[in-house]
């Protein structure tokens, strides 16, 4: 066997991951993706003495399993690329190339990803990014960023346009690189690490922290009590509601629909204010911690939440009915920024960006963690892949999340009286944790040494794959529709740059 098959949040001895030679490794993993139920959740390199170990994790959505395989290659080796077989490996291999200097001669787009501090080639700097360009007299280039007009996060977009029409858009990121993955190794205290996980992407604090704590608890062979799982599930769904509402507001702002922009904007506030009541932070920082819960969820909090949701739901449905029926809004959303089903499977997009084109990718359904197995989640799928589909997904997922929260609130588990103490993580182990954040699939992988300390930590935010989907969506659209396309994906810069 070239792969070991594990479940989400399962730890295995590092030695049990088979090591095959590169040809076999390539063949096995690229033949997986020929089936639509498989996609690559993480593929990265780990430096081992004198060599480089490539570890590839392929998720099987039909069986809820993850196939992990590895291969030892020489540092600075020249290898045939996975990308030549399937595009979804594109960014993973760029990352391996950037970090370790592995050469992939048949990779079509071997460009820098995020300019990490410990990159292999220090000659490659952010100021000398190799942009794709055109010598045509008819086309012109427009550069946007890295300073964002709304001062959110830095990123540079380079358009090649024919008049108002976009022919090509290239996205240059890396301005936000903080070296989060190596900070996970440097910071030894658990609290420091949990706080770090909260800052991977500030808008997905719950999503990333849940991925981290599930991974840590799995490494410690710790089964969380039901009240911990309850709090995590609830917080994930509340974060989803808050962010989707904010996105709908921003979508309305971008098409200059003031009513939607104002009402959705107002509706986000009670949700995040509720998080403040629960855990003292509107962005839910401090709520999710490994092996404990600093802010127990009481029956009283539950009553407050159900009252809040009753009010929220009424206003939300009213403004949604208005927005999604207004011809001028529909004419901006429909058929704008289309990414086809074929493109999505080809680039391996995840989360909403996949579901908008009828690709059923949702960790909550396929690799359930926490209480999702009990909720029996059915992903919401759309078929058109346009801005309208992405807006509709948000609207319907909010209603779905409200339903889930109501059913969770019917049975609030009491605070566990005798919580087991968290032990030490297993030595020489590998663990993978998948979480469905509001944006999509979050993947954290860790490897421990003989003392149970992290020797490698790998984070993959859904934005990792999905930025390419944005690049494809704007092709042949008008340049003035770029902002609304961008907002409809609402990808993370810092989640990508780490």
């Amino acid at each position: 066997m070239e792969t070991v098959v594990i479940k989400n949040n399962q730890n295995i001895p590092l030695a049990s991951i088979p090591v095959s030679d590169y040809e076999k490794f390539l063949l096995v993993n690229t033949s997986f993706v020929k089936e639509s139920s498989f996609h690559c959740v993480s593929y990265y390199g780990v430096a081992v003495p004198e060599k480089l170990r490539l570890i590839c994790c392929m998720a099987d959505d039909d069986h809820g399993t993850i196939h992990v395989s590895s291969s030892l290659v020489d540092r600075q080796a020249t290898l045939p690329s996975f990308t030549a077989h399937h595009l979804s490996f594109e960014k993973f291999e760029r990352e391996i190339h950037e970090n370790f200097g592995i050469a992939y001669p048949d990779h079509p787009w071997l460009k820098p990803v995020r300019f990490p501090f410990n990159r292999a080639n220090h000659q490659s700097t952010i100021a000398h990014y190799p942009f794709f360009n055109s010598a045509s007299e008819e086309l012109h280039e427009v550069g946007v960023g890295p300073i964002h007009a709304g001062v959110i996060e830095p990123g540079h977009f380079r358009f090649i346009c024919n008049g108002e029409q976009i022919m090509h858009m290239e996205i240059q990121l890396g301005f936000q690189h903080r070296g989060i993955e190596s900070l996970f190794l440097e910071k030894k205290k658990l609290l420091q690490r949990a706080t770090l996980a909260e800052t991977i992407a500030g808008d997905t604090a719950v999503g990333h922290t849940t991925a981290f704590v599930n991974l840590w608890e799995s490494l410690c062979n710790y089964t969380p009590d039901e009240d911990l799982q309850f709090a995590r599930t609830l917080a994930l769904e509340l974060e989803r509601i808050a962010m989707h509402t904010a996105d709908l507001s921003a979508l309305c702002t971008d098409v200059a629909y003031q009513l939607g922009s104002a009402v959705y904007g107002r509706l986000r506030t009670p949700i995040i204010n509720y998080m403040q009541i629960w855990c003292g932070n509107r962005l839910s920082k401090g709520l999710i911690r490994p092996g404990k819960l600093n802010f127990p969820f009481t029956r009283d909090l539950g009553d407050q939440l159900s009252r809040l949701l009753d009010v929220y739901e009424k206003d939300f449905n009213e403004v949604s009915d208005n927005t999604f029926r207004l011809p001028s809004v529909l004419s901006r959303f429909e058929k704008t920024g289309v990414v086809t089903h074929g493109q999505i499977t080809e680039i391996g997009a995840v989360g909403m960006a996949a579901r908008m084109s009828n690709v059923r990718r949702d960790v909550r359904a396929t690799h359930p963690h926490d209480l999702y197995a009990k909720l029996e989640h059915v992903p919401i799928l759309k078929h058109h892949g346009d801005v309208y589909s992405r807006a509709q997904i948000r609207r319907e997922e909010i209603n779905q999340s409200i339903g889930y929260i109501r059913s969770l609130l019917r049975d609030i588990p009491g605070e566990s009286k005798n919580r087991k103490p968290l032990g030490l993580p297993k030595a020489n182990a590998f663990c993978i944790s998948l979480t469905e954040g509001w944006r999509g699939e979050i993947c954290h992988c860790a490897i421990t040494d003989e003392h149970g300390e992290f020797v490698h930590y790998k984070i993959k935010d859904p934005s990792h794959h999905n930025w390419l989907a944005l690049g494809l969506s704007v092709r042949n659209n008008e340049i003035s529709d770029f902002p609304v396309c961008n907002k409809s994906f609402n990808l993370s810069y810092c989640g990508h740059d780490l």
Binding site: A256, L326, S328, D481
Partner: protein, 301 residues
């Protein structure tokens, strides 16, 4: 003289009423009616910053633009009372003096060498071009109807021939309100509130302007709105007594500003490639007015 005074008065609160309407429509209290004016005054007190890549064009353009609008305002009469400047064919000067201001804004935005501003300039040029036929068809029709070629004479004798001309004036009002929205870069063509350069038209052209220059440009927008409001009022006030006419002027200006505010509250803006089609449709409405005039004059018999 009277029209100049009235237009300046209306321009002081026009932007404020739009802003207030939008605030109220979205459930907010909103700033006072004179807030936009206070912003302009604040800007006028400041110095301007000039990029080293720009030439003198960039520095004179805001003044030329403002001057062109003041010039255009001088041509507008108020019912029976004549404008400061009036001669045969003055509405042609009106159109082209505005075009000169716009031309300078366009070349000044190209002067900055920014890709964004170039895009904005090309959009602005295209939309101004498409608006022109509608303007001339309407004023040409009225010139034909009345047999006169200056604003003052046209408006003074507009309703002498037939009551049917009130219907034509109403249609013309519709077209002029939309022309004003287009010329001032408001919804549904442009969104003055957006922060997204790629979607802007007028706003992106003035990204590099600051301080005094920006103040002039912002005030010019209000002046332009009030000027179109005055033109619309002129369609109706022929033969009215002065107090009634002034009252009607104020009502029309306030209603015009509130309408602009309401459009911006409850409508999303058009997709950029629908704009040209939309603007051109104004010309077809103007053609209806033209045929109406031909009917009145009995040219079809």
């Amino acid at each position: 003289m009277l029209s100049l005074g009235l237009i300046i008065m209306a321009s002081l609160f026009f932007g404020g009423i739009i802003l207030r309407t939008k605030s109220l429509a979205s459930g907010r209290k909103g700033p006072g009616v004179f807030q936009p004016l206070k912003d302009v005054i604040r800007l006028l007190k400041k110095g301007a910053v000039y990029s080293r890549t720009t030439s003198f064009i960039f520095q004179v353009a805001p003044t030329v633009y403002f001057g062109s609008i003041v010039m255009a305002v001088l041509l507008i009469p108020f019912g029976e009372s004549n404008s400061l400047l009036s001669f045969k064919g003055d509405f042609i000067l009106f159109a082209y003096v505005l075009a000169i201001g716009k031309f300078f804004m366009i070349i000044s935005s190209l002067d900055t060498g920014s890709a964004f501003e170039g895009m904005g300039a090309s959009r602005e040029a295209l939309y101004s071009l498409l608006v022109e036929p509608a303007f001339f068809l309407i004023l040409g029709s009225f010139a034909l109807l009345t047999g006169h070629t200056s604003f003052h004479e046209i408006f003074a004798s507009l309703h002498l021939s037939s009551a049917f001309s009130y219907a034509l004036a109403t249609l013309a009002t519709f077209v002029f309100v939309l022309i004003a929205m287009i010329e001032n870069s408001r919804l549904p063509i442009d969104d003055p509130k957006t922060h997204l350069e790629l979607t802007m038209i007028h706003e992106v052209m003035i990204l590099d302007n600051s301080g005094y220059d920006l103040g002039l440009i912002l005030y010019a927008t209000n002046l332009k709105f009030a000027m179109y409001g005055a033109l619309v009022t002129n369609f109706f006030i022929a033969g009215m007594s002065l107090p009634v006419a002034i009252l009607l002027f104020i009502v029309i200006q306030v209603a015009f500003a509130a309408t602009a505010g309401l459009i911006e509250s409850f409508l999303a803006r058009f997709r950029m490639n629908h704009n040209a089609q939309f603007i051109f449709s104004l010309s077809s409405i103007s053609l209806v007015i033209f045929f109406g005039v031909l009917l009145i004059l009995g040219k079809f018999s």
